[in-house]
Homo-oligomer: 330 residues x 2
Amino acid sequence: MKEIAKLAGVSIATVSRIINQNGRFSQATEERVNQIIKEHNYSIDSSPSNIWKAQKCNIGIIVPDITNPHFSALILQMQMALFYSGYSTIICNTNESEILEQKHVKTLKAQNVAGVILISGNRYHAALRKYPVVYVDRPHLGDDDDAVIIESDNEYGGYIVANEILRAGCKNIIFLMSKIKDINQRLRYNGYLRALKEHGMQERIEYIQNTENVSIYAGKASITSIIQKKLSFDGIIATTDTLAAGAYLALREYGIKVPEQVKLAGFDDCMIADICGTGITSVKQDVANMASIAVDMLLRQINGEKISTTKRQLTLTLSRRSSTDSSPLN
Amino acid sequence: MKEIAKLAGVSIATVSRIINQNGRFSQATEERVNQIIKEHNYSIDSSPSNIWKAQKCNIGIIVPDITNPHFSALILQMQMALFYSGYSTIICNTNESEILEQKHVKTLKAQNVAGVILISGNRYHAALRKYPVVYVDRPHLGDDDDAVIIESDNEYGGYIVANEILRAGCKNIIFLMSKIKDINQRLRYNGYLRALKEHGMQERIEYIQNTENVSIYAGKASITSIIQKKLSFDGIIATTDTLAAGAYLALREYGIKVPEQVKLAGFDDCMIADICGTGITSVKQDVANMASIAVDMLLRQINGEKISTTKRQLTLTLSRRSSTDSSPLN
């Protein structure tokens, strides 16, 4: 590679990028380098040991559910940032299963990836202790003080979205959350409780809906059962946009109008919030910023840097849409 | 593994699944096997050569855009089917880039995966000739007669969705497609032309919209420009649900009502069609069936079977929703 670089008048890194089709280089440079490789009969060493080294150009991303647009948007941002730094991305979907998550960790280790980004989930992986790892959107657990974590201020997110629903005049608010052991869900709930308290309102158990998972269909089933039970409500706060979309589908099926009869809000501000119904108010997670910080924290570890600030928390804002407009409820 | 299997009274395959945390086994069996490993001081060989073999439990899926819910739904179905057959799935997103696709093919080969599923894309990969490979939703190219392909009847899909829009009374129909060199897009267009002809209507160039890609935002930009040009239209056929959702966003922004003023239809029948606006009529791709056939065709190749029917084509149906209801246009 050194000789090729010299002959082509480019850096070794560029030659490596061209050979491995990693990162950025111009077509002209690629042609020049390939010409030199051909002319001088250089052969690319594709022996297992070299392949093994080449695998150090891969980053694994473990994600709970790629069909959730919030996660797929996050992955795409990360993948592009990693690509421009010369890394390929391997995506592993756990489908919320701990067995699958464990399995993916093993697979990625066996593949000798340069680093791992874990999105969501609750587990700390001792098996990854010596690896460059960034945990995204997962809570800080007690036994991993050196784990590098980036998360959103979920309690505050729950607080601002509850205030929005209260401001819109709702008195009987359903809180639609998943019962998965996800501390982020719990923190969003805590924020909602804080807002209720400030408005002098009590939590009512029958208005808390726990779903099996955060899918659209779980959200739809949950609100359908509420409607069938004839529980009276005028607002729904969902802890994800997927659950909010499911709630919207149930309301639409029963001819209940958003926002005229029920105000509705979600969390994540992914594309679902934009296209669902006439638009759903949602707590915006700054996916681009989160991805860029996560990738930066990972690359610094890969480059042997010691991360001084291992915990980063991003603030959240509200994206208002028509689902919480201030027209009187009727 | 043989000895452990004998002691535990289970098959070698079960021991392998437990050690590799692959596929199905009961908790009781897992505990028994782990107990035997512990009691007899068996050690799991995690040397590179063994890891190398273990990697034969991985399948690579290459996909153009994981943020498109049609593709993520397809991947999830494939992943679960593969998991129950003892395989882990590595997902590689190309973001519609040929460079990235080439790179992913190299990476998966270097990782010694057991097989590869390529979703969409136009390329035939000579590098994968000796690998078990299934091409999903890609056209049959001339030079790869032995390539295993499963696809939808896209021409027919274009035909039935055009008939639906025509039946709803539309006279000035925008055909919203991506200009990417995707033969499936072209086939859908051909089906639309066939329906037009049967209705004695002519194709009009100014009503064909070519977008840079099939993203929601490309669809929105395209229809926004049409509205600003004051081109009169009463129907939109989009070649993907993402483009249809983008069209819907543009119409909503300008206060143009679906279906009262404009009828709208998409393609794929993914979750977007369900939640967007009051629901968008869409050509249903049978994702579950497609995934299950693709996985079956791949596993049969991995097991050394010669596939006799290398080309499979699935038919398409229409999922009607309110966006093409038959209320008169006004």
